[in-house]
Symmetry: C2
Subunit: 191 residues, 2 copies
């Protein structure tokens, strides 16, 4: 059975374990084994290792065991996806694994930035800029171009965008299930 690494800020939810169980059950319905980072049993080492280092190593090992990744790229503490999830997306791509991704906010990066603060147009350089004068990409992507295009180049599909209710921003699994359907399609094509 092919293994899918379940990347996302879901691990930070108050009901992180229940959400992971729902994701793993959905994986099983589509014929996959879901690998959820919260399931890594960390046994604090009595010597010198820090707990966060042990979690890092367990997650990296789990990613190396996976065949695919499905990443929850919903904006997290700003207009872009969770940094830990984005790191894992890059790691999956570098390891040659197929990647799928979804976001529970449909707006593109420029509109997301507008919701988080002042956005102005720089008429000299013909670029939108944030309050730190940093250019904002305007390619209709959901996030930084490296993220949207990594999914297309290394997964074969654009990021799935779903408009979730505010109170289910990180727990709505509509986009996740769509990614599972894409994974089934990708497997059947390559079979």
């Amino acid at each position: 059975m092919r293994k899918i690494y379940l990347a996302g800020p879901d691990v930070f939810l108050p009901d992180a374990i229940a959400v992971g169980r729902r994701k793993k059950d959905l994986c099983a319905q589509y014929g996959f084994e879901g690998l959820y980072p919260f399931d890594n049993e960390i046994t604090p080492n009595l010597q010198t290792e820090r707990v966060d280092r042990l979690i890092y190593r367990a997650n990296e090992r789990m990613i190396r065991r996976a065949d695919f990744g499905i990443c929850n790229l919903t904006p997290f503490r700003g207009p872009s996806a969770d940094a830990g999830t984005v790191f894992e997306l890059g790691l999956l791509v570098g390891l040659g694994k197929r990647v799928f991704g979804y976001t529970n906010v449909v707006e593109d990066l420029l509109d997301r930035c507008r919701q988080f603060g002042d956005v102005t147009f720089d008429t000299n350089q013909k670029a939108w800029r944030d309050k730190n004068s940093m250019a904002i990409e305007n390619f209709d992507n959901a996030d930084n171009l490296m993220i949207d295009n990594a999914l297309i180049e290394h997964g074969g599909y654009p990021m799935v965008r779903h408009n979730a209710h505010a109170d289910e921003l990180f727990s709505d699994l509509t986009g996740f299930e769509m990614c599972l359907r894409l994974a089934v399609e990708a497997v059947s094509k390559s079979a």
Copy 2:
């Protein structure tokens, strides 16, 4: 000469080209060739390819050519680093390249989150939470544990933290130059 990929939101600065030149000059002073993504010449394809796809491919190719990466992990539009840079950090690690990183904000993730909004303590689960009830890691790391620990596991050094002036948040190269010194040390150890 060893090649270092220069990852960072520096490409979004109004003087992105000048900053890239300063970084490449510093690389040369330390005996490295700096690869700066802004130097990728994108020739818009007259057929069907989107410019952002061409930029993605050029950046990925440049990363594959590099021996090391130095990542500017200064907080960007929130408490965490730029999503594009974090993706590239993951890609470098997945490709087995050594990585170094710096941030121009010294505070740890919990203090950074406090600056960006309400932080409360969840006495039931013994966790700090943001305004979306998402747990905030409290390991004294600068960013998500995957980022800080990737640098230690795959570079050999913790993230360099430097307290830059607000008006040089993304252009102060003190931490960058410290990473170059670490790269020299790493090369000499492995020689």
